[in-house]
């Protein structure tokens, strides 16, 4: 079998470095990106903690997101913080999934933004210069590099996507937003107290040069911390809450996709079966009814379709239809008697399905026979094929899996499973499950 994913991976293994983040970004449709199957490196903004770089790398190479994150954090710690600017650089240079270019590549072509950044930087430099003239003690040593920070932030802000602007705005809120949003009475008091604490603590720290006891600086530090908590606490809480809300929204979206896939699958399957049986109105009606019931019970009652309102005969029929349509091997099903399903009989059907699918996949037989008989105190089910068969004393590993899963399912509910086979003579799986007293019987034909 050809593996298209692998082909694409080989094909693209140099892609990101040749034409990805630098210069000409790859403009292929983003849905071509398979999880873990290569493709161009993109930041994954849907599953991000910070900039989505780790998630992007994880999706690109098929690692677990958390592994990549741990490696990133370790790398940042080991290199003494050097990893952090690297991460920021990656954030700037790697395009986000679904976008044409990286922030850096957009910023280079943003002439208006460059002009604005230059103007702001000049203004800031001027302010610094004036401040330096009037105030001898101004720590100009670290202030001047901030000119470049201002210019850089301006460019980044202008060229980040709307979603990332929102994040940046949230991060910048305590600096800029606190003054903009009209503060309520309570937050005014809070800000005042926080300010007093921070400045008081800072003053205390500054005055505690040598003369006073060692306890003094500790008290100052505590005051500053308390002030910071008061000042920034609500904002931290909001960020945490937003993160939780974002998570919930993502979970809901995934759930919806799951539902869509499941409904889609089962309904499409039935429609395909109906097309195949178009000449048999009885069968078509039966299929449609079965599907309707399954869909209703799953959508409105949240029950698993496998055990809803079904009888053993219907379960056997379903195995027959599923295997025939999925593997193209005719299944001759004969059911004697019928009864309601309970948990142990569902286990019996699941085991029978395993055995039938296995026969369809491996035996090479032209037909598989499925025989179910409801007796007063037990239900037996025989799956038989006239295919290759195997030597039970030299069971290969893949067959052992079947024996285990069929056997395990049966014995957990008090049933038995016997697999007999010989090379060239086919395989027979005999299952027997005792009936619980409650399940109603319809042995002896329809009555």
């Amino acid at each position: 079998m050809e593996d298209p994913a692998r082909w694409e991976r080989d094909h693209d293994s140099f892609g990101p470095w040749h034409r990805g983040p630098f210069g000409h970004p790859h403009r292929g449709p983003f849905w071509l990106r398979h999880r873990g199957s290569g493709g161009p490196l993109r930041r994954d903004t849907a599953d991000r903690l910070a900039g989505g770089v780790a998630a992007g790398v994880a999706a690109w190479r098929g690692f677990s997101v958390n592994t990549v994150r741990i490696v990133f954090v370790l790398a940042a710690v080991v290199t003494g913080g050097f990893g952090v600017p690297l991460y920021v650089a990656a954030w700037l240079l790697i395009p986000a999934a679904g976008e044409d270019g990286s922030i850096a590549s957009r910023a280079r072509s943003d002439s208006a933004g460059i002009g604005l950044a230059a103007a702001l930087a000049t203004l800031f430099a001027f302010v610094l210069f004036v401040a330096g003239v009037f105030n001898e003690g101004w720590p100009s040593g670290w202030a001047w590099p901030q000119v470049f920070t201002v210019a850089g932030l301006t460019l980044i802000w202008r060229n980040a996507s709307a979603e990332e602007q929102a994040t940046l705005r949230r991060l910048a809120e305590p600096v800029s937003g606190a003054g903009v949003v009209r503060p309520g009475r309570r937050s005014a008091i809070r800000l005042t107290i926080a300010g007093v604490l921070v400045f008081g603590g800072a003053g205390w720290l500054a005055s505690a040069h040598q003369s006073l006891a060692l306890l003094r600086p500790l008290g100052g530090v505590l005051l500053v911390i308390a002030g910071l908590v008061l000042l920034l606490g609500p904002w931290w809480l909001r960020i945490a809450r937003d993160l939780v809300l974002e998570r919930q929204a993502r979970v809901r979206a995934e759930e919806r996709a799951d539902i869509a896939a499941r409904v889609h699958d089962s309904v499409l399957q039935t429609l395909a079966l109906i097309q195949r049986r178009a000449d048999d109105p009885q069968k078509v009606i039966q299929l449609a009814r079965l599907q309707e019931r399954e869909l209703r019970s799953w959508l409105f009652e949240g029950r698993d379709p496998a055990d809803v309102d079904m009888t053993l005969a219907a379960g056997v029929r379903q195995i027959q239809q599923d295997v025939e349509s999925r593997y193209g091997v005719p299944v001759e099903a004969v059911t004697v008697g019928d009864c309601e399903l309970d948990e142990s009989l569902n286990a019996l059907l699941a085991a029978a399905r395993e055995a039938t699918v296995n026969a369809a996949k491996w035996s090479g037989a032209s037909t598989i026979s499925l025989f179910a008989e409801v007796e007063p105190d037990s239900v037996s089910l025989v799956v038989r094929d006239r295919g290759k068969g195997f030597d039970p004393s030299a069971v290969p590993e893949d067959r052992k899996g079947l024996a285990e899963s069929v056997h395990g399912r049966m014995t957990r509910r008090g049933g038995t499973a016997v697999v007999t086979s010989a090379v060239g003579e086919g395989t027979k799986v005999s299952l027997k499950m005792p009936r619980s007293a409650v399940s109603g019987s319809r042995a002896g034909g329809p009555s």
Binding site: P376, R386, G445, S447
Partner: protein, 218 residues
């Protein structure tokens, strides 16, 4: 009977008749074809074949009408019912009318030829589905209102050996495989099946009579 069995085909689909005729080739001698009840009765009465391959569904009435009309006058003619449907009332009705076997139209050619030879030799032929129906109809239903109080245990119940044979037929075993599985001879298997057929035709079990009544046959 000597050599290949002489066969009459009764089916309202000409395409199906010619298909069967072509596929069976020289394994049987097809001595006539008919597409409805009355022509079939006339034809069978005149050529007296060994075996009649009889479609259960015919335009002028069920296949059992042909069986009933012929049986009294020509007891040597044996019927093998063929049907695309698996509805028990159809199958049981034609068996109770006197057919000695039933197979579905999806049967393979070698199996059909084998079934015709078996019928011609006086044995019974059960498809795996018919075996399932019979097990169903004869299933013990103690405490059920279905059971008539006056049933004849000789006719109205299967022995455990007959049950075993029917179960294996329902699982798709051939007579030879059944014989090996149960450590009995093929002849014994055949006699078990014939005995089941007799019970099927003569028993007054409610399930059987009800199925027969639904096809206006008592």
């Amino acid at each position: 009977m000597s050599g290949v069995p002489r066969v009459v085909l009764v089916d309202d689909h000409g395409l199906f008749r010619s298909g069967v005729r072509a596929e069976l080739g020289r394994q049987v001698e097809v001595v006539g074809e008919a597409d409805d009840v009355q022509p079939a009765i006339d034809l069978i009465a005149s050529v007296v074949p060994d075996v009649v391959l009889l479609d259960v569904h015919l335009p002028g009435g069920g296949g059992q009408a042909v069986v009933q009309a012929i049986r009294a006058a020509h007891p040597s003619v044996r019927f093998l019912a063929l049907s695309a449907s698996d509805a028990p009332e159809d199958v049981i009705a034609v068996i109770r009318a006197g057919a000695r076997g039933y197979v579905t139209k999806t049967i393979s050619t070698p199996e059909l030829a084998d079934a015709i030879r078996r019928i011609a030799a006086g044995d019974a032929v059960f498809s795996h589905r018919l075996a399932g129906f019979v097990l169903d109809a004869f299933a013990s239903s103690e405490g059920s209102a279905d059971v008539k109080p006056s049933f004849d245990p000789e006719l109205d119940q299967l022995t455990s050996r007959e049950r075993e044979v029917l179960r294996l037929i329902a699982q798709g075993y051939t007579y030879k495989e059944i014989a090996r599985e149960l450590y009995i001879s093929v002849k014994t298997v055949e006699s078990h099946v014939s005995s089941v057929l007799r019970k099927l035709q003569l028993s007054s079990r409610h399930q059987l009579t009800r199925w027969a009544a639904e096809r206006r046959l008592t």
